[in-house]
């Protein structure tokens, strides 16, 4: 246990170093990097991902995964756009987008809990299904004539500051998640489920219901992210946020959350959020296209699981070596 704590704090120290490295890299790649407008851009670019990591964190802590988040984002964005195109009031469009996202998450949860299917396969299937539904609704069309108030909410900032509006939502939700995850019995239940699902069930934790709720929350948050994405780019398209699941999962795992569940904290994930956001921004300022940036993010994803594995293995190896050394000296001493 003590070793686990040491490992986590070591990991967070590494993350902070990585964050500083990213800032140094950014400012060396471009003179505009440390510009306050650019830093505001970094926050703005993280609008959707910052929300989606919150629900992904909870899902991975209980030992599941949701690969379909980006597709739910796309689907809810398209629903919003399609209704707006058919002259529905904006409030109705937004409500429908949120409802569709929630429903999509609920279906994921139902398939995982009621049928007992692995979440990996279920959400890989719905990754294709929900994105496909988005294409069925809008095809190649793009809806873009949204009212000013809506788009200002998307890319505008709090008056007098450079903090984008969507970031406020993130701060509010993050505080709630911190309180629930790290300060309440619900959080302890989530960790218990992730550590030992069978034991959790025997301890009277309603594992299936909690998972169902988490997947539904994930759907709702992805729907909300869909609304924000649509507002930010003033565009509803079926291929919105294609591939976002890579960044979301990378950030959560890079933040020190174990892919096997049961371990990880929000503060680590928030540092990782800025690492990925700043790296992407820095490399984009140096004129690398999104697809090339993904090499870095994909690399971080693999390293974030490989790293702790390697550290644990190294520690084991060192311990074994020390045990051997002590054993040998002991044997030698007893001989003389």
């Amino acid at each position: 246990m003590r070793r686990a704590i040491r490992l986590i704090s070591l990991w967070e120290a590494l993350l902070v170093a990585l964050l500083l490295g990213a800032v140094v890299l950014g400012s060396s790649l471009s003179p505009y990097f440390l510009n306050s407008n650019n830093l505001s851009n970094v926050l703005s670019d993280l609008s959707e991902k910052s929300l989606m990591i919150l629900s992904m964190l909870l899902i991975i802590i209980v030992g599941e995964i949701d690969l379909s988040v980006a597709s739910i984002l796309g689907l809810s964005s398209v629903v919003l756009g399609d209704l707006w195109m058919h002259n529905a009031p904006l409030a109705v469009c937004i409500a429908a987008a949120l409802a569709v996202g929630t429903l999509a998450g609920f279906i994921n949860g139902l398939l995982v809990t009621a049928l007992g299917l692995p979440s990996l396969v279920v959400t890989l299937g719905t990754l294709a299904l929900y994105r496909g539904c988005a294409y069925i609704v809008l095809g190649q069309l793009a809806v873009s004539n949204f009212p000013d108030g809506f788009t200002t909410f998307g890319f505008g900032s709090i008056p007098g500051t450079l903090i984008p509006w969507p970031f406020v939502i993130f701060v509010v939700l993050a505080v709630i998640v911190i309180l629930v995850l790290h300060g309440s019995w619900i959080g302890r239940q989530l960790y218990t489920i992730g550590n030992n699902q069978v034991a959790a069930r025997f301890a009277g934790i309603r594992v299936a219901r909690i998972k169902l709720i988490l997947f539904t929350i994930s759907g709702f948050i992805s729907g909300l992210a869909g609304v924000i994405f649509t507002a930010r780019f003033s565009s509803a398209r079926a291929d919105n946020a294609l591939g976002f699941e890579l960044d979301v999962i990378t950030i959560v795992l890079l933040g020190g959350v174990s892919i096997f569940g049961g371990r990880g904290t929000l503060p680590g994930v928030i540092i990782a959020l800025f690492v990925v956001g700043i790296l992407r921004n820095a490399v984009a300022l140096a004129d690398f296209p999104t697809e090339t940036q993904s090499i870095i993010v994909g690399g971080l994803l693999v390293l974030s699981v490989l790293g702790p594995n390697a550290i644990v293995r190294l520690q084991n190896w060192l311990t074994r070596k020390r045990v051997f050394a002590t054993l040998i000296t002991y044997v030698q001493r007893s001989r003389t």
Binding site: L111, A128, L129, I249, E291
Partner: protein
Amino acid sequence: MVTETMTTEQEGQRAPSAVIRVTRRVGQVRELGLLVVLLLIFVGVAVPEPRFVAVNNLRDILLSVAIIAIVVVGETLVVLTRNVDLSVSAIIGLVAFVSGDLFKQHPGISIAVVIAIGCAIGLGLGLLNGLLVSYGGVPAIVVTLGTLYIYRGLDYAIAGGKQINAFDVPDRFLNLASDTVLGIPLLIILAAVIAAIFALLLRYTRLGRQVYAIGSNPEAARLAGIQRNRLVLLTFVISGLLSGFAGILWAARFATVDANAATGLELLVVASVVVGGVSILGGSGTILGAMLGAILLATIQDALNILNISPFWLQAFYGAAILLAVMLDTLIMRRLQRSYLTRRL
């Protein structure tokens, strides 16, 4: 079956255990079911649109399956060991571009060299996946989700905005995809031979049985002395190699290749494997089933096309196919397990 003709005495010694019998029967039921569904689709579509069953169209369906089928073989091996390889589409795209680019940069380069380089790239990328999964201890989904984007990113970095066109590559190379042997397209023969080789390997060699063993019960397989890491590595290497080979054929068949080639194909490959009755939990399923799965999906794609249904339906359909297949498998498995348990009691 052979066991039925044996005397009871021999049966006691030689008959496969009930679990194996049950899984085999599920496999046979699945393959038969796939054939029935295929037949229903053919009849259902051919009645309003007779051109669906024209020899030319059937050939087109098989041609479009051929390249996918080669990748599906590798994916089947990986899934049998309880892993998954999402990076196949990126490997296909990368190799397709690189092999086209080789012809463009070095006119007169021999086709054999390009094939060798393409296969070597696929093998190398598969090796990296396999090492990270087996010896790195990173779950396959994490590794291959990462490398899916890494390999595709490399593809973009190499290709930039460039595109390979038909006139950049020699005709002899393009002929790879259009040649026929005894009237049968070379592509289909290649796919069938590769599928047959691996089907036989899985069915009749110790290696094959070990692959099933680590998928169906990793702990028992370890206690039986099976080198899990080595086998998992091997399956990923084969998957990478076959994807690389498929990438070369992709370049030969489509001639125009840019950095987007084969994007999203991994979903079709996984869907084929799962629809073909290979359990996503590992340890059960056959290459034949996966091939039928691939043919079924390609047939449905062609049917949608002929019935003038928008291609936008395809992706949703692949997703639904994955979900339905997995649900069906789980339900059947549960039913069978229950009946097996009650019979024993």
